[in-house]
C-alpha cells in the first residue's frame, strides 16, 4: 500500500512568484521567508516522495462563482497554470496521477465526502508556488500531483471539524491505495491576513503561533472555533488555515515537527511554513 511520509503547510502569496522570477530570494525583504525552505528541502530529499497531494483554494482561475464546490479533487493527466490577471509568470504544467485521483475519489465518496471531480483543472498560484518553493529550479516538478481544492472564497465555508475529517478521509484513501508510492500532503495558504475592508492589513501573530504549535500536538484544538470566529481571529483570508488543518488530518495521529518558519510580513500576510513527519 502507498505510504504517507509527512505533510508540509506553506503560505501561497502571489508575489512569491515575482520574487522567484526576479531572483530576490536573498533580498533583505524576502530572505527571512526563503531561508525557511532549505531544511524542508533536505527532508524531502531524504523521504523521497513520488506524489504530492496538494490541498489549496482557488482564487478565481479554475472556479468562478457560477459553480463553487466545497471540496473538489483533480483527476487530470496534467494540470496547467494560466494567467491570473495580476502579472505573475505562468509556470509549466504539472503531471497528475490519475490512478491515485480516482482511488481517492472512490474512497472519499465511500466515506460520504461527496466531492466534485475535475478531469480538466487549471491550477493557480496557491498550487504552483508551494511546489516551486519546495522543488526550486526544476524544468518539471519532480513529483506527480493530485490537486484538492477547498472553498475558502464564498461563504459558507466548511467548518474546521469538517476539514479535519476530510483530511482524515484523504489520509485513509492514500493509505489504502494499492501502490508502493510515497506520498507527501501539502496544504497551502494563510496564515493570518486580511486583504479587504477597513480592517485590511490585520495580522494576529499570537494566534498564528499557537495554531502552528497546536497543529502538531493537538490539531482538534482549532475545531473549537467557528468559521466566523476564525475570520475574526485570522482575517478574511486567514481562514485559508483550513487547508493546513485538512493536511494535518491526512497525517493521522502522531506527528513530529521537522521544521517551522514564521515571518511577518510577506505582502499583507503573516507567512508560515510547517513540515511534519508521520511517526
Amino acid at each position: 500500500m502507498a505510504r504517507i511520509v509527512g505533510g508540509i503547510n506553506v503560505t501561497h502569496v502571489p508575489y512569491i512568484g515575482r520574487a522567484i522570477a526576479n531572483n530576490l530570494q536573498q533580498d533583505a525583504y524576502w530572505k527571512p521567508f526563503f531561508d525557511g525552505f532549505p531544511p524542508v528541502r533536505d527532508w524531502l530529499a531524504k523521504v523521497k516522495p513520488d506524489v504530492a497531494v496538494v490541498v489549496y483554494n482557488d482564487h478565481g482561475l479554475n472556479f468562478f462563482l457560477d459553480k463553487m464546490p466545497t471540496f473538489a479533487v483533480g483527476a487530470a493527466p496534467q494540470y496547467q497554470n494560466a494567467d491570473e490577471g495580476w502579472g505573475i509568470p505562468t509556470l509549466p504544467p504539472y503531471t497528475g496521477d490519475q490512478d491515485l485521483s480516482w482511488h481517492m475519489i472512490e474512497s472519499l465518496i465511500e466515506d460520504e465526502f461527496d466531492i466534485t471531480t475535475c478531469q480538466e483543472m487549471l491550477v493557480d498560484h496557491a498550487f504552483t508556488l508551494p511546489l516551486e518553493l519546495l522543488w526550486p529550479n526544476q524544468k518539471q516538478c519532480p513529483v506527480r500531483t493530485v490537486p484538492v481544492c477547498v472553498n475558502t472564497v464564498q461563504f459558507p465555508l466548511p467548518t474546521a471539524a469538517r476539514c479535519f475529517n476530510f483530511g482524515r478521509a484523504i489520509g485513509k484513501a492514500i493509505e489504502s491505495w494499492d501502490s508502493d508510492a510515497r506520498v507527501v500532503v501539502i496544504g497551502t495558504g494563510g496564515l493570518s491576513h486580511q486583504l479587504d475592508g477597513q480592517r485590511a492589513g490585520f495580522i494576529n501573530k499570537e494566534f498564528d503561533l499557537m495554531f502552528m504549535d497546536k497543529l502538531v500536538t493537538d490539531p482538534l484544538w482549532v475545531t473549537r472555533y467557528s468559521v466566523p470566529d476564525l475570520v475574526e481571529l485570522t482575517g478574511t483570508q486567514g481562514v485559508e488555515l483550513l487547508n493546513w488543518l485538512t493536511t494535518r488530518g491526512a497525517l493521522g495521529g502522531e506527528v513530529t515537527k521537522v521544521h517551522a518558519n514564521y515571518h511577518i510580513p510577506i505582502s499583507n500576510t503573516a507567512s508560515g511554513l510547517l513540515a511534519m513527519e508521520v511517526v
Binding site: G60, L65, L195, Q198, K205, P265, A270
Partner: protein, 118 residues
C-alpha cells in the same frame, strides 16, 4: 434580497456570503474575465461598454470608475476578483490596503512590519 439571518459583526470586515455573492455577481464576473489579456485591453479601450456588457449596475460602475475598493466591496465585490481589476492598474496589495484604511502606502507597510514585532 437577504437571508434575514442575524449576522456576525466583525468591525471593518465584510464576509463574502450568499447576500454579497448575489449582489456582486456581475461585478465579480467582469473581474473574472480579466484573467485574459485580451479582455483587460478591451476593458481599457471602452470601460463603459465593457461594464455594460457584464450588466454592472450604476453603483458598481461608479465604484469601478472611481477605483474605490471599499465601494466595490459594498457593491458585492470579492477581494480575489477585485485584485484582478487592481492588476490592470498595477495596484499591489499595499496600495489596495492603504486605500481602504485611509493610510499612505508607507504607513500601511509600516503597520504590517509592526505586526511582526509584537
Amino acid at each position: 434580497m437577504t437571508t434575514g439571518k442575524q449576522k456576525r459583526v466583525i468591525p471593518g470586515t465584510t464576509i463574502f456570503d450568499g447576500d454579497q455573492a448575489r449582489k456582486g455577481y456581475a461585478l465579480n464576473k467582469m473581474c473574472y474575465s480579466f484573467n485574459s489579456e485580451e479582455n483587460r485591453q478591451a476593458f481599457l479601450a471602452d470601460r463603459d461598454g465593457y461594464c455594460a456588457k457584464f450588466g454592472l449596475n450604476e453603483q458598481q460602475k461608479k465604484a469601478v470608475f472611481d477605483l474605490n475598493v471599499l465601494d466595490m466591496i459594498a457593491a458585492g465585490g470579492n477581494a480575489y476578483f477585485l485584485a484582478k481589476l487592481g492588476g490592470i492598474y498595477k495596484l499591489d496589495m499595499q496600495d489596495i490596503g492603504a486605500q481602504q484604511t485611509g493610510m499612505t502606502k508607507e504607513a500601511f507597510q509600516a503597520k504590517l512590519i509592526a505586526a511582526g514585532k509584537n
